[in-house]
Symmetry: C2
Subunit: 421 residues, 2 copies
C-alpha cells in the first residue's frame, strides 16, 4: 500500500487483561477525542495480548495501513510488559539502554524514599533511533519512531500518565505532521426518549444533513446525537444544519433536550442554579450517593450543591431527614408520601433552595407483590411545594440507580427551565 492510500490513525491496545476480562480499555475513547484538535480520525483499533510475536506482527501490518499508529500499555517493570520488545522487533531495531532515562527513574524513586529494582531497568530500554517521550508522572517513558512514512507512538498504560504525555508531547507532533484543521463535532443530549422514537421524530431533519454524518448514541438514561463533520464539508452549511437540528429538538423535546454541547446533565443544572444564585440538596435512598456523585464530579459544585443524605435504613430516614416513622409505617419506605417528606426534610435541614429525593427498589432483591423491582419515586421540593413522580425503571441494579439519579436531576432541570420560560 503506498502512502497516499493510508488512512489516518490506528490504535493498538496491549494487555492480556483486556482480553481476559480483568479490565476494560481506558484509552481508546480518550485518544479518539484527543486527536480531534489535530483533525485526525482513528479508523481502526486492535487489542492484543502480551506476546512479543503477536505485537510485532500487528505493528508491522498496521504501520503499512495507517499514517499514525498509537500503541498503549505494557511498558511497566514486570515480565509481562513486553510492548517495547514487540515494537522493536517490528521495526527491526535492537533495544538500547538509555542512561539519562535510568537516572530519571532513580531520581523518581529517590524522591519517594526508595530505590528502583533491577526490573525497572527495562523501562530505560528503547528501540535504537527512537525519540524518547518523557513521563513526568511515572517511571515508564514512551517513545516515538518515524519509519516508512508512519509515525508510531508507544505510551504507557496508566491513564493519567498516558493522557498527560499525549496532550503535552504527542499532540503537538501529530498536529505538525498532519497540518489539518480541527475536526468539528456537534453534540446534542436528550433524556427520557427512546432511540426509535427520536429517530421517528427527527428522521426528516436528520436525513437532510449534508455536512455531517449522524450518530445516535443511546446511554443508560437517554440518547445523544452526535454530528461529525464530513471530509468535504462546507462550514456555513454546517452551521445552518446544526442550528436547524437544535431548533427542531427544542420544539419536539422541550426540557428533555438539555444541552447542545457535551456537558453532563448535573452540570447543566448546576449552571442554571448558579445563574439564579440557588442551591440544591438531595435525600437518596435507592440511588445510594449517585445523585451526590453526579453533582460533585465537577469542581466548583460547592457553589450550588450543599449536601446529600444517603438514608438507606428506615431509621436513618427518620433520624437524618425527619421523615415521620408513621409515614413509613403506613405507606412503606418506597412511597410517594415518604419521598415527599424526604425531599422537604433535606431541603429544610440543608437550608437549600431545592430538595431532591429518590426512593425505590433497585433489586435484584427487595420486591414485594405490590412493589416490583424498578418501582421508584423521585421528588423535587421547594419553598411551599413539591412535585413527585412514580416510575418503573427497567434494567439491572446499576442501571436502575443511574436512571433514577438522572431522573431526579432532570425533574429539577424541567422545573428550572419552565420557570425561566
Amino acid at each position: 500500500m503506498n502512502q497516499d492510500e493510508r488512512h489516518d490513525a490506528e490504535v493498538i491496545l496491549v494487555g492480556n487483561e483486556l482480553l481476559g476480562g480483568e479490565r476494560g480499555d481506558r484509552h481508546l475513547a480518550f485518544l479518539g477525542r484527543a486527536l480531534r484538535p489535530a483533525g485526525v480520525r482513528i479508523v481502526r483499533a486492535h487489542t492484543v495480548g502480551d506476546h512479543v510475536g503477536a505485537i510485532a506482527d500487528l505493528v508491522r501490518e498496521r504501520m503499512r495501513a495507517a499514517r499514525l499508529l498509537i500503541v498503549t500499555g505494557g511498558l511497566g517493570p514486570t515480565d509481562d510488559d513486553i510492548t517495547r520488545d514487540g515494537v522493536a522487533q517490528a521495526l527491526g531495531a535492537s533495544l538500547e539502554f538509555d542512561e539519562p532515562t535510568w537516572s530519571r527513574i532513580v531520581e523518581f524513586f529517590a524522591a519517594r524514599g526508595r530505590t528502583p529494582s533491577d526490573a525497572n531497568r527495562r523501562q530505560a530500554m528503547f528501540p535504537r533511533g527512537a525519540e524518547i517521550v518523557g513521563n513526568a508522572l511515572g517511571t515508564a517513558p514512551g517513545f516515538h519512531v518515524q519509519q516508512d512514512g508512519a509515525h508510531i507512538f508507544v505510551l504507557p498504560g496508566p491513564p493519567g500518565e498516558l493522557q498527560a504525555m499525549f496532550n503535552d508531547l504527542v499532540l503537538p507532533r501529530v498536529t505538525a505532521a498532519f497540518q489539518r484543521p480541527a475536526l468539528r463535532m456537534e453534540h446534542f443530549r436528550t433524556i427520557g426518549v427512546g432511540e426509535s422514537q427520536l429517530v421517528e421524530m427527527l428522521g426528516n431533519t436528520v436525513a437532510d444533513l449534508d455536512g455531517f454524518t449522524v450518530s445516535w448514541l443511546p446511554n443508560i438514561f437517554g440518547v445523544d446525537i452526535v454530528l461529525t463533520q464530513k471530509a468535504d464539508a462546507n462550514v456555513a452549511a454546517m452551521d445552518q444544519e446544526a442550528t436547524r437540528l437544535h431548533e427542531r429538538l427544542m420544539e419536539q423535546l422541550g426540557s428533555r433536550y438539555y444541552t447542545h454541547s457535551e456537558t453532563p446533565l448535573a452540570r447543566v443544572v448546576g449552571d442554571q442554579l448558579v445563574a439564579r444564585a440557588q442551591t440544591v440538596a438531595a435525600a437518596e435512598s435507592l440511588t445510594g450517593g449517585t445523585v451526590a456523585r453526579l453533582f460533585t464530579e465537577h469542581s466548583g459544585s460547592s457553589a450550588y450543591f450543599l449536601a446529600s443524605t444517603v438514608a438507606y435504613a428506615n431509621e436513618a430516614k427518620v433520624d437524618l431527614l425527619g421523615v415521620r416513622a408513621d409515614t413509613i409505617e403506613q405507606f412503606g419506605a418506597v412511597s410517594e408520601e415518604v419521598c415527599t417528606e424526604m425531599a422537604h426534610g433535606i431541603r429544610r435541614r440543608a437550608k437549600a433552595s431545592w430538595g431532591l429525593a429518590t426512593t425505590g427498589i433497585a433489586g435484584p432483591t427487595g420486591a414485594t407483590p405490590h412493589k416490583p423491582i424498578g418501582l421508584t419515586f423521585i421528588a423535587v421540593a421547594w419553598e411551599g411545594g413539591v412535585q413527585v413522580k412514580r416510575l418503573i425503571y427497567t434494567g439491572d441494579r446499576h442501571t436502575i440507580r443511574e436512571r433514577a439519579a438522572h431522573g431526579v436531576i432532570w425533574l429539577l432541570h424541567d422545573r428550572l427551565t419552565r420557570e425561566s420560560a
Copy 2:
C-alpha cells in the same frame, strides 16, 4: 489457514462512536469473563467504524483466524446500523426478512403503547441461513452463523441485551462447540502498595509459578494479581501455587491484601460487618457520595450500611453532622479535627457501630499555600475512639476521590482485621 491452526476467539466491536471518543467499549471485558466457563480465550479484538465494506473485510479475514468470532453493535434501527449488511457481505449471503421476528417487534412496541416505524423493519433482516438469537429485552435480535468451520455470533450493542443473550443463548452453544473445561483464574487484591514494590516483594514467589501466567493489574487505588491457568497446567500443582502466593501475601501485606477472590473492598468489609452484626455510616466531603456508592452497589448492603451524609458546604457539616462551627473556624474544613468530628457525628446520628469520614481537596481548584491539592484526612470512629490519617493523594479529581473513598473503607477493614486477629 486450516482449522487446527486457528486460535480460540476474536471479537469485532462495531461503531464510529468507539473510534471518535464519544463512548468507550462496554463489551470486551464482559465477553472475556463470560467465555471463561467455556474454557475459551479471546486472542484478539478489533474496533471498526460503521462502514459496510470495512466490516465485511474484517469479518472475512478474522473468521479464517479464529474458531469463534463475536461481532457486537450496529443492529439498531438507524441508518448507521449496518453490521448485518457487512456480515452478510462477508458471508456472501443475501439479507432476508423474517416474518416471526417482525411480529415480535410489533408486539414489543404494542406492549409499550406504540407502533414500530419503517426503520425498525431492518431489525427483522438476517443473512440467509442464519440462526436467529432472540432478544427478550429489546427490538434487535442477534444471529448465529456457522461457516467454513467458524462460529460467528452477531449481538446488539446495549449491554443489558447483549449480556442476557450471551448468557442464555450464546454460551451454551459455545460450550457445546468447544467441549472444554472451564478456564481457571485466581485473583488476589491489594491496596496501597505500588506495582514495583509488590513485584520486589513477591518476585521470587511468582517467578516459581508453573501452572499459571501472572498479570499485575494496577488500578486507581491498588494492584490486583491475576493468575491465569496455562493450557497444560496440572490442577494439584496449581492449588499449591495459589496457596503459596496467598500465604506470602498475608505475611508481607497484612490487611493491605484484602481478598483472594474478585470481591470489591466494600463488599469484603460488608461481609466482616455482617459477621459481627455491626453497621457503618459515612460523612463525606471530598468523596461526594463515592463511599456510599461503593457500599450500596451491592444488593443486601442495607444490612450493614445505614447512611452517608455528603456534607459539601461548611454549614452542612455543622447542621447535618454536628461539627462545631468553632472547629471549622479554627482549623479549616480540611483538618484532622473536622474529620474527627465528622466521623463521630455521623456515627452518633445514624446510630451506627462505625463512623467513617473524609475531607480534603479534590482539585483542580481549592488549594491554599498550606493545603495542596490531594491533601486528605480520613477517619474511622467507634464507641470511645477514633483513628485519623493524613494523606496526600496524587492524580486528577476523579482519581483523588476514588483513592480517598477506598482509603477510608480500607481503614475500617484494617481495624476489623486487627480486632479479629
